[in-house]
């Protein structure tokens, strides 16, 4: 019995390993075009239009076409994402990046929403647990049958409680 279970676990493990290897192999074939598409959506056009680099649609926008050409050249050269971002920041300033970096003070931008999320969840769980502890145990003895005239009131209460 134990051996059968072990065999099942081993098979599932192997299957997961095969699936993840397949996923990695699929990812390895990422084309240059896809990289340009990805990186071009992580940067801004700096002409002042506030648009993502590859989405700037200004006719004859000299900034976006120059940026896109530079990006294509760097991707063709095989530069890493980090090198490309650094080169763009050096040339166009920090506003060229479409999202804050994960260094220095910019890290705060990423951390805060998750801190607030964690704190919110913790508060809810804490409040629910505290309230649960406060609820007094209900008496079990001395329960009498409700008088018929009270039934209508109880029915209304039940309707109110269950209609949503």
């Amino acid at each position: 019995m134990k051996q059968t279970r072990y065999a099942i676990v081993r098979r599932v493990g192997l299957l997961l390993l095969a699936a993840s290897s397949l996923a990695l192999l699929m990812g390895a074939g990422e084309s240059q075009e896809a990289r340009v598409d990805y990186l071009g959506h992580q940067m801004m056009c700096v002409c002042g239009c506030n648009e993502i680099l590859l989405e700037c649609n200004h006719v004859g926008c000299t900034y976006s076409s120059r940026e896109i050409d530079e990006l294509k050249q760097m991707v063709a050269h095989g530069d890493s994402d980090k090198v490309i971002y650094a080169a763009f920041v050096k040339e166009y300033g920090p506003t060229v990046l479409a999202a804050p970096t994960t260094t220095g003070f910019n890290r705060v931008a990423w951390i805060m929403p998750f801190v607030v999320f964690g704190a919110g969840l913790a508060i809810v769980v804490f409040v629910v647990r505290t309230w649960k502890r406060r609820i007094a145990p209900r008496p079990v003895a001395g329960i009498t049958e409700a008088p018929p005239e009270k039934l209508g009131e109880f029915r209304d209460r039940a309707r109110k409680d269950t209609e949503l």
Binding site: N50, A99, W110, P113, V116
Partner: protein, 678 residues
């Protein structure tokens, strides 16, 4: 006209001040007659502001360029509907429009004062306070009737080309109706806190008014999104621009309120929380307006920078201080009547839903303001754009979707895990099956995080749809059995009996359809090509063939249009006409997108310009999957909200019966007295 407009604006300010001050005196002295004069003054404010807004519109129709506002935002060749839309196209006019909407809400509220005279009297004073602020703005800081300096030019500068679209005639009024609409629930909530209103009636009124504002805000947001999609020509519908974010903030807190208010109505819980949600929703509406108009954050949609930002900061500070003061003074009134009994209950699902919505609102606000914070701390601005908002908000939205599925299956107070399993099993299996089919049917969640999110979003949407459908099915079947009809008739009956609950479920269906539409964006494609006569471009299953390109001229603009034949699987299915215009008054270019929308995908063509060397047009083609679903979902969402606003069939029938009974009794009384007299 300018004189009439200016005078009525001043008159409106005086009347508002009367309604505010005398309203307070009447409440303190408990003087009903004085209170009635304040109410009538409030009604008169609407007449005065209507006269002022009409004067501005007539000035636009008459091409009265002696008014600086008309000179800046209109011209002779501008079509009539856009001349009307000029009312809200600039800073001063849109503030006047805001005043008019606020006065209109106030007018309705004061007309319906018999709902609860004391509560409405208090709310009316608060509405007057807000009205005074906006009237001060238009009278002294951003006057729409300011005169043109120097010689009057023969023609105006024209309306911004981006605003010359039919959607732009509807979108701002809807958005403003939503923003301004949030003043009414705020007024009722603050009034109830100030007067320590006994009972729960105020929360019913507040909830209904919030739904009205929320419905308009939803319409405004989706219309804005549709406008951005059709007009801006970048192929997307949401760019996380600060102005877009500003509209999302009150929507998120308003949504949180519409959920948590049920806990107050059903169980007398979360009173403080609900009070602050309403306060926050109103303050965020004002903050959104402040962001749009102050120039604090840069945006493509923002109005011209001006000094009115300081006014808004003071107004928000005073409002916040007022809310804190009355909360601290009367917080005992907001004690919970019940407490949570279990983590697996409807109440806790609402709590978690609220946490997620508020965290999302925080993330949006944080991301919007972070560039300003960065400038303070680091000395330089940074950009916080779509990659940030998507990374932070998509996981939150997916958690919310999961809660949307689970919530309706939970009972009030506590739910047994057995019943949860029983109700959840079939929907969960359906969602899992969907995930497997999509994963191996070409969605490849392992290839890209966007694909993964899209797969999870669609699977969770199936989960929500299955739970909502099971709710309709179970209830519909019981009614059908009882009334001897079919299940669908039973479902209709069910919805009519509890419009709020089932209208809410229809809203949830709308939301999941919108989310399926969003998920499609993970698979978009785009291509750009210079296209001479007979040139071809392939994108997805489509082949575009350039048949011709042409130019045109009319008094308002010059235009260049390409004529493209569209083939799908070798068969011609359509001809599309992407266009580029240059508006003469402002010499500003604009794109007129050609879009072929189907349930599967949108073929979206943009005329991006002309190659100066060859004279051939450059066409950018986008293939955007499932966009149609976004607009379809938005319609369902609004329909669901309207259904939820209707009174329940039983309640209205009961009210009718009571009225009939009263009428019968009165008639009987009359007959009796007559008989007696006889």
């Amino acid at each position: 006209m300018p004189q009439i407009g200016s005078f009525t604006l001043l008159l409106a300010l005086v009347l508002s001040a009367y309604a505010f001050l005398v309203g307070i005196i009447a409440i303190v002295r408990k003087d009903d007659r004085l209170g009635e004069t304040a109410r009538r003054a409030g009604i008169a404010v609407w007449i005065a502001v209507t006269a002022s807004a009409t004067a501005l519109v007539i000035s636009a129709f008459r091409n009265d360029f002696s008014l600086a506002y008309i000179l800046e935002h209109s011209n002779r060749a501008l079509p009539l509907p856009y001349k009307f839309a000029a009312l809200w196209s600039g800073q001063e006019g849109s503030l006047l429009f805001w005043c008019w909407l606020l006065a209109t809400y106030g007018f309705i509220l004061r007309l319906r004062h018999k709902v609860d005279t004391r509560l409405v009297a208090h709310a009316s004073v608060i509405m007057s306070g807000v009205q005074i602020f906006f009237l001060l703005l238009v009278n002294f800081a951003a006057h729409p009737f300011a005169m043109t300096v120097g010689a009057i030019p023969p023609d105006g500068n024209g309306l911004n080309p981006l605003l010359q679209y039919p959607e732009m005639v509807i979108h701002p009024p809807m958005l403003y109706l939503g923003y301004v609409g949030m003043t009414v629930p705020f007024a009722f909530a603050l009034a109830a806190l100030i007067m320590k209103y006994p009972g729960e009636k105020w929360i019913h009124i507040t909830r209904r008014w919030t739904m009205v504002g929320w419905a308009f805000l939803t319409c405004g947001i989706f219309l804005g999104s549709y406008w951005a999609y059709k007009v801006l020509g970048w192929g997307g519908w949401w760019g996380w621009d600060p102005v877009e974010n500003a509209s999302l903030l009150p929507w998120l807190t308003g949504t949180a309120f519409l959920h948590s208010v049920m806990m107050q109505e059903k169980r007398g819980m979360m009173k403080t929380w609900n009070m602050w949600l309403i306060f926050s929703t109103f303050l965020l509406s004002i903050l959104g307006t402040f962001l749009t108009r102050s120039g604090v954050v840069s945006s493509v949609h923002a109005f011209a920078q001006s000094g009115i930002g300081v006014w808004f900061v003071w107004f928000m500070a005073i409002t916040f201080a007022t809310c804190v003061f009355f909360y601290v003074k009367n917080k005992d009134h907001l004690r919970s009547e019940h407490q949570l009994e279990s983590l697996i209950s409807r109440e806790s699902s609402f709590l978690f839903n609220n946490v997620l919505l508020l965290v999302s609102a925080f993330a949006v606000l944080w991301g919007t303001l972070f560039p300003v914070l960065s400038e303070w701390v680091q000395g330089h601005k940074i950009t916080v754009g779509p990659p940030f908002f998507n990374k932070v908000n998509i996981p939150i939205a997916l958690c919310l979707l999961l809660l949307t599925a689970v919530g309706p299956l939970l009972a009030w107070r506590r739910t047994s895990t057995e019943s949860l399993k029983r109700n959840f099993l079939v929907p969960a299996i359906l969602a899992l099956l969907t995930a497997v089919v999509l994963a191996f049917g070409g969605m490849k969640p392992w290839a890209d995080i966007a694909n993964f999110y899209a797969l999870v979003a669609i699977s969770l949407s199936v989960l929500v749809a299955a739970t909502v459908f099971s709710e309709f099915w179970r209830g519909g079947r019981v009614i059908a059995r009882h009334n001897n009809t079919n299940v669908f008739a039973g479902m209709v009956q069910l919805t009519r009996r509890n419009t709020r609950r089932y209208g809410g479920y229809i809203v949830h269906i709308g939301v999941i359809i919108v989310i399926i539409g969003f998920a499609g964006s993970a698979f978009y494609q785009s291509k750009e090509k210079e296209m001479g006569f007979g040139d071809k471009m392939n994108i997805g299953p489509y082949t575009l063939v350039c048949r011709s390109y042409t130019q045109d001229d009319n008094p308002n603009y010059r235009s260049e249009t390409a004529m493209l034949d569209i083939y799908k699987n070798g068969k011609k299915i359509d001809t599309m006409y992407p266009q580029r215009r240059v508006y003469k008054a402002s010499e500003q270019p604009a794109t007129i997108v050609a879009n072929r929308s189907t349930i599967e995908e949108d073929l979206y063509l943009v005329y991006t310009g002309v190659n100066p060397d060859t004279g051939n047009p450059i066409i950018k083609a986008h293939l955007n999957p499932l966009v149609w679903w976004i607009w379809a979902g938005a319609h369902i969402l609004v329909i669901g909200t309207i259904i939820a606003l209707f009174p329940n069939m039983q309640a209205s029938k009961q009210a009718l019966t009571e009225k009939e009974r009263a009428r019968a009794l009165a008639a009987a009384g009359r007959t009796g007295s007559t008989a007696g007299a006889d």
